[in-house]
Symmetry: C2
Subunit: 208 residues, 2 copies
């Protein structure tokens, strides 16, 4: 009756929803994978972190690799959709400011996930494809019309799109991605400040 959702009462033991358990496992998977990498993580440890038996993992995900994919895929698209709904600015320059802000926020919140994705993309073609289509590819297809509009309006120079974007992506990715590798190297106090620095350089360059 009140059945398939919520699943409680009756016995003195209650049980989490299937979906809740799945989420627990995904969350634990992300945590452990991010900390130790795919091959460095064991299903036993993930199970422990999720508070389930090891066998339970394999009831939800056929293999360890399927778990990895499941951990990465949905998150990849999450942030992109976000951008569509947000205010995105009216001018191309304004768009870049919004986009940059949005990405820096995403990177800061999901840095473990993103580093994991870049690391594992080297070894698993499925991850590589998800990364490409989801993050980089989509990012580029969102930017492109604004870039072209900027060139048409005379706001931007007529630089080659893809190389310019690769550099832009590099600036953005490097911000959060390797912040922990660079240690205390980035003295900005706020994300605003960081975004300002990046955007200023991207738009106007270093030369006087």
């Amino acid at each position: 009756m009140n059945s398939n959702r919520d699943t409680k009462i009756h016995g003195n033991q209650k049980r989490k929803t299937v979906e809740q358990r799945r989420q627990d496992i995904l969350e634990a998977g992300l945590k452990i994978f991010a900390k130790k990498g795919y091959n460095g993580s064991t299903t036993a440890e993930i199970a422990r972190a999720a508070g389930v038996a090891e066998g339970t993992i394999f009831r939800h995900f056929p293999t360890k690799k399927d778990l990895l994919i499941a951990v990465l895929e949905p998150k990849v698209l999450e942030g992109l959709i976000q951008l569509d709904k947000e205010h995105v600015g009216d001018t191309p320059t304004e768009f870049f400011r919004c986009f940059l802000w949005n990405r820096l926020g995403l990177i800061k919140e999901n840095d473990a996930l993103i580093r994991l994705m870049f690391a594992e993309a080297q070894y698993h073609s499925e991850v590589r494809e998800a990364l490409f289509k989801g993050v980089l590819g989509q990012g580029i297809s969102i930017i492109r019309p604004w870039f072209e509009k900027g060139v048409e309006r005379g706001d931007f120079k007529d630089l080659p799109f893809l190389p310019t974007m690769r550099s832009f992506m590099g600036m953005v990715m490097f911000y959060g991605l390797f912040g922990h590798v660079m240690l205390g190297l980035s003295p900005e106090r706020t994300m605003d400040e960081a975004a300002g620095n990046i955007l200023d350089l991207f738009l106007h360059g270093l030369a006087r």
Copy 2:
């Protein structure tokens, strides 16, 4: 007499130098580690690729991890020293052109190594430190005086050094590092062209 180097003759069997064997193992280690990551590689496979018995690896390197470190460390510094000896330009702008060219070359030649280093830096603090001190840290200390000179001469704006460098590094790193992730996304035909694009953007920005 002619002894300790070259080590041949006498028996009908000759043997490689200790140093040669070491190099074989290091080379094979790089190849396999780069392809499969540290935890995804087995010492058996590395031994096979090096043409030695598995036990031989452990005669040269106490543990698998020591092999990883040995693979990464020397290469890290190699390219930096290179720069000191090369012509580096007279003006700050010229210096950046040379530095960029040098780095792009290094990245293109050692992309497997560099990707491996960034991937493993997340999981091994020794690698992280080597990466930081060797590549990023040194790179920054080479650049700094030129950057400051450029600001003094009025060639450059007075932008904050570290955030600007982080962006620059990002542009450079992203070039080769994720070329294979970005697939055919970067349509430059030559490294010259790529360097030109990056430098142009870095110096003058996108805005008109």
